[in-house]
Assembly symmetry: C2
């Protein structure tokens, strides 16, 4: 089952305590696709400028990412430059150039409109709503967002919540959106406004999935060295949605495993700059890491 | 099997966003004993001044805490006054009066010296070493420590590490002690200096247990309202050691369950001021919460 993703396709320049990378491929749709394509076919909608090194997206196409929805516009591509300090928790944005992204209006190709699983990457909620106007009865629609939209597009975001089944956001964003410090209360606030599923990501501290009646928690994989956290959240979303699409099921056990696949893909993403590690791994690596997650948290209950 | 605990028996005055409490019973040995005594007999060694409301320790005695090692000294009891802000993560110490605690020299009663399980609460490492000189071949010795001792008593602490089987400390303390930011590297640094087991507590973000070959992670229980975090770490240690003493076993599965029992007891401790909630709960509450921990993290692997 294919997953449709709409989001940014960018060029990132990143500095971490371990090195720097200039103008490497990035963006929410790129990380999502590199991750999800290990698990299911991906249909990508986004925009790049005339300066984009599209040949670098070739490995994505080769593994089943359909780029028919990638618009090629006149002008410069979306560029982000950021830096991480020693604790790697928060990116410091040094520069953002929207370029062609500032006039982006997502056009979903006819052959993508029946995608059963849809992920609305972190873009203007107005554009996320436009995407929903173009698709036909998906089985699951998930969205991401960020502090900038929570601040500047709150009414649109609240409108969007009514129309999505799941939202992924980080703990800071959840608190900002809901004005609840406690994450259980924040999740309930959100569920009262539409989504039946809320995934709150806490970076190196793992992720919660809230359903109407259950809470599931997955730790982040304890890596000896995190190289570059850029894209971890989108890679998580890719693993999560990719696994659900592969299973074509929305039962509790599938959703729980999806969180684990998301966490696994997020843990790979941070091991190299850009999508380097995501393009390198295979099914074996993913299965191994999922097993390690199981070993990390499992304990036998007494009889 | 009894657990011997040596630590502080204090009077706490605490302010949280939800209320305040003045001169309530607290201290590492008190929280530890209130927690561990649900699971095993406890032998407590500590000191109080002539102003201590010893009758308030009666509920502890009633549930199997042997207070024969509680010294009654002339002078004022150890008092701590602290405050928590909205995020409840870090206590702000407003006042500390050591009182009789400043001349404390732990004397282990003869009938406690063969305790098979020993917990050295967060006191001067020199005193922790004195305790070890008085006990006979325990099966497991665990210790706690804090930033103050890491800074002021490093050589003694390093000496102590050679003589304990397990250390519990929080993530900040682990980083301070080892000068490693990464917790895996920090745990290995510690294990290279003695302890075969390292438990790193991350407060609301859960706890890691590192053994020579495995890593186990337990989340903190997601509570809708955390009332007062004081004593959570000592209650964790009490649940952990109490469970091990009850099981009288040091196998991997027992250790994992011990971390869960520790997390469960920590989650109860923060629901009220002082040991209020710990004295209120029963076996049923504990078993229920352990089951909820299992539900929180469990997922089925695919075949």
């Amino acid at each position: 089952m294919p997953v449709l993703v709409v989001g940014s396709v960018a060029l990132d320049s990143v500095e971490t305590p371990f090195g720097k990378a200039d103008n490497v491929i990035g963006g929410s749709a790129t990380f999502f696709a590199a991750s999800a394509s290990h698990l299911s076919p991906v249909q990508l909608v986004g925009v790049v400028g005339s300066d984009y090194p599209v040949d670098q997206l070739e490995p994505l196409r080769a593994r089943g990412v359909d780029l028919a929805g990638l618009e090629h516009a006149e002008g410069r591509s979306f560029r982000w430059r950021g830096r991480y300090r020693h604790d790697l928790n928060a990116a410091e944005t040094l520069e953002t150039h929207l370029g062609v992204f500032s006039n982006f209006e997502p056009k979903i190709p006819e052959q993508f409109r029946s995608a059963p699983f849809v992920f609305l990457g972190n873009i203007d909620p107005r554009l996320q709503l436009q995407v929903l106007d173009q698709v036909r009865k998906p089985k699951l629609v998930a969205c991401d967002t960020m502090n900038f939209w929570i601040e500047s597009r709150r009414p649109d975001l609240i409108e969007l919540l009514k129309r999505v089944d799941l939202i992924t956001l980080n703990d800071g964003e959840a608190r900002q959106l809901t004005e609840e410090y406690n994450l259980l209360k924040a999740a309930r606030w959100i569920m009262n406004r539409g989504p039946k599923l809320v995934v709150i990501k806490k970076g190196e501290h793992g992720a919660f999935m809230f359903t109407e009646r259950t809470i599931f928690f997955a730790p982040a994989y304890p890596l000896e060295s995190v190289f570059d956290p850029t894209g971890a959240g989108d890679s998580f979303a890719g693993g999560f949605m990719g696994y659900i699409a592969r299973a074509d099921d929305l039962g509790e056990q599938t959703l729980r495993r999806a969180v684990i696949y998301g966490s696994a893909m997020g843990s790979f993403a941070v091991e190299r700059f850009s999508v380097g590690r995501l393009l390198e791994i295979g099914q074996r690596d993913i299965a191994d890491r999922v097993r390690e997650f199981h070993r990390l948290v499992s304990f036998e209950q007494e009889l």
